[in-house]
């Protein structure tokens, strides 16, 4: 009762109540027109191609890795940030894509076919997990996906004739055209895939599907009343996200020319979640920041570890650095790195 009278008072003091249509005279909203995703992606493509000509080979390889990570972080940020489903198992979905690529490639030696198979298989696996996930909420969903992250790598040792246990599989690849250095070729392929994936995600998310995703995240009852099928939306979101992880895993298999369960440990899944949180949950630009950090922070901490000469530090420093960065970013910009520009502009506007 007191809450109501307080709210009423607030409304009155805001000067919004005038009969018959209280607060008449619509002030048409000044909406910032978003740049169309196709333009952003095209600009990104130009930038990446230019970069590949400027960077030395090892940096190009790292750039390729960022592209591969970008696929999975973009898919995960849509699932977790926009749809509110926390997945701790995306590393396992990457493994699924990676092994599918390896097995298909070694059998038919057709790279496009191998990528298509990776997409197909992760679609099916994503749908199965997604169907179970749609029945679970919060910590229970996290628990399920955590179990997936733990179980999938151990499948490789159970069926060791196919997956060759802990040693993993090597991937047979045709060499790229001779006029291009292999690292540059890798960067192009990874970023080509990443930009296609992100473009599709951006187009998907900006319309009705994106609104449905966020409506389900924010209030399931109200979403149902608006005609949204909650379970179908959640499963779709999971499948989309799983396919992104599958493409990412396939890219890593291609980059490393091998797959092994050790490449997709539980910590990878946790790193992915940390990366999208630091980048800014639900933002595709945030996913890019996250992908960048996934490559840069471990590389930095490794070089620091090498300089101090501490063997022990080398392995664990990346975790510590990631944790510290997470805390600092959350304190300074709770919306993640991607939210910093809008925060800055709001600050500037307020001080003007």
């Amino acid at each position: 009762m007191t809450g109501r009278t307080a709210a009423k008072h607030e409304a009155e003091t805001a000067g919004t109540a005038q009969a018959p249509v209280p607060d008449a005279g619509p002030v048409l909203p000044k909406r910032r027109r978003r740049v169309h995703p196709v333009i952003v992606i095209a600009a990104g493509a130009v930038l990446v191609v230019a970069l590949t000509y400027m960077l030395p080979p090892f940096r190009n390889y790292q750039l390729a890795t960022v592209g591969a990570y970008f696929c999975v972080t973009a898919g995960l940020t849509v699932l977790t940030g926009l749809n509110g489903q926390l997945s701790l198992g995306h590393g396992a979905l990457m493994a699924t894509g990676a092994y599918t690529l390896a097995l298909t490639q070694n059998r038919w030696e057709n790279l496009p076919l191998s990528f298509a198979m990776a997409v197909l298989v992760t679609t099916v696996v994503g749908a199965v997990i997604g169907l179970a996930a749609a029945r679970l909420r919060g910590p229970y969903l996290a628990g399920l996906t955590l179990a997936v992250a733990i179980v999938v790598p151990s499948v490789t040792s159970t069926f060791d004739e196919t997956f060759n246990s802990d040693q993993g599989l090597s991937v047979f690849l045709n060499p790229p055209p001779e006029q291009y250095p292999i690292e540059q070729w890798q960067a192009w392929l990874c970023w080509g895939a990443a930009l296609v994936v992100v473009l599709l995600l951006a187009l998907l998310v900006r319309g009705r599907f994106g609104r449905d995703l966020r409506a389900v995240r924010d209030d399931e009852t109200a979403a149902k009343l608006a005609g949204i099928n909650i379970a179908r939306t959640q499963v779709l979101a999971f499948v989309v996200s799983a396919v992104c992880a599958g493409v990412s895993g396939a890219l890593f298999a291609y980059l490393a020319q091998s797959v092994s369960p050790g490449a997709f440990p539980l910590t990878l899944s946790l790193f992915l979640v940390m990366a999208i949180v630091i980048g800014g949950l639900g933002s595709l630009f945030g996913a890019l920041w996250g992908a960048l950090l996934l490559v840069v922070l471990p590389a930095l901490s490794q070089s620091v570890g090498e300089q101090t000469g501490s063997q022990r530090l080398e392995g664990n420093l990346a975790l510590i650095v990631f944790g510290v960065v997470l805390v600092v970013v959350m304190l300074a910009a709770p919306g993640g790195l991607a939210s910093i520009p809008s925060r800055m502009s709001r600050l500037i506007r307020r001080n003007r």
Binding site: G3, R4, A7, K8, E10, A11, E12, A14, T16, A17, Q18, A19, P20, V21, P22, D23, A24, P26, V27, L28, P29, K30, R31, R208, R211, D212, R214, A215, R217, D218, D219, T221, A222, A223, K224, L225, A226, G227, I228, N229, I230, G282
Partner: protein, 235 residues
């Protein structure tokens, strides 16, 4: 004539809902004729929202049945908007991570969602908040946004659960006018008696899950059983 045929007749037949030992609704029947404005009133805990939840498919009746246009009907929440039934929630169920405009667009199940949503917001006098986030707005504004989200679907049956809560006198007067001019079937749960009495064609009074009176506003206000339910038994 053509608009009449689009309206739906909703009927509840002997609906009983039991939650464990509690009988929330006890054999309640109601026919909502197309185009009518039907109020559902009663003291707190009388079963008004449960009645709404039965119609929306959130609560399965223990016994009894529903019909829509004469044919048996088992409601499912996410099918309602397709059937032209829109409902507002008592505790403003809004999507806090979306702008006001996006909130209303979610309710628009057709193309041109954005312009339709803006028009609905304008109709409720809150278009200027289109880019704001609902969480930061006063309760009364959020109520009106909630109403806009229901209206944007252009429903044939509009179910309003305490739409006047938190609104001031001017806003309630406006709301009453709006309800009357929608021209659709309206089911209204409301505590604000002046509003109910002025807009409704018919009023159902619930008390402890039982239907104790059904009639025109004049009949209801003259009914001693209703006074008793609200004020307690006469000493």
């Amino acid at each position: 004539m053509s608009t009449d045929s689009q309206l739906k007749e909703l009927a509840l037949h002997d609906i009983t809902v039991r939650f464990g030992g509690l009988t929330a609704l006890d054999s309640v029947s109601l026919r909502v004729a197309p185009g009518r404005i039907v109020g559902v009133i009663g003291p707190n805990g009388a079963g008004k929202t449960t009645l709404f939840n039965v119609i929306c498919g959130f609560v399965q009746p223990t016994s009894g049945s529903l019909t829509l246009d004469g044919s048996p009907w088992r409601p499912r929440p996410h099918h309602l908007s397709r059937l032209g039934i829109a409902r507002t929630l008592q505790g403003v169920g809004q999507f806090s991570g979306m702008t006001v405009l996006e909130n209303v667009m979610v309710g628009a199940r057709h193309r041109h969602a954005e312009s339709e949503a803006l028009a609905a917001l304008d109709r409720c006098g809150v278009a200027r908040y289109a880019d704001a986030h609902p969480g930061a707005l006063p309760y009364a504004i959020r109520k009106r946004i909630e109403l806009a989200r229901a209206l944007v679907a252009k429903p044939r049956i509009l179910m309003l659960d305490e739409p006047a809560g938190g609104l001031d006198a001017d806003e309630i007067a406006w709301l009453g006018a709006l309800i009357k001019e929608t021209g659709t079937t309206v089911l209204l749960v409301e505590h604000h008696m002046d509003l109910v009495m002025s807009v409704c064609d018919e009023i159902l009074v619930l008390d402890f899950g039982k239907s104790i009176a059904l009639g025109s506003p004049a009949e209801i206000s003259a009914n001693p059983k209703v006074t008793e339910a609200y004020l307690g038994a006469a000493a």
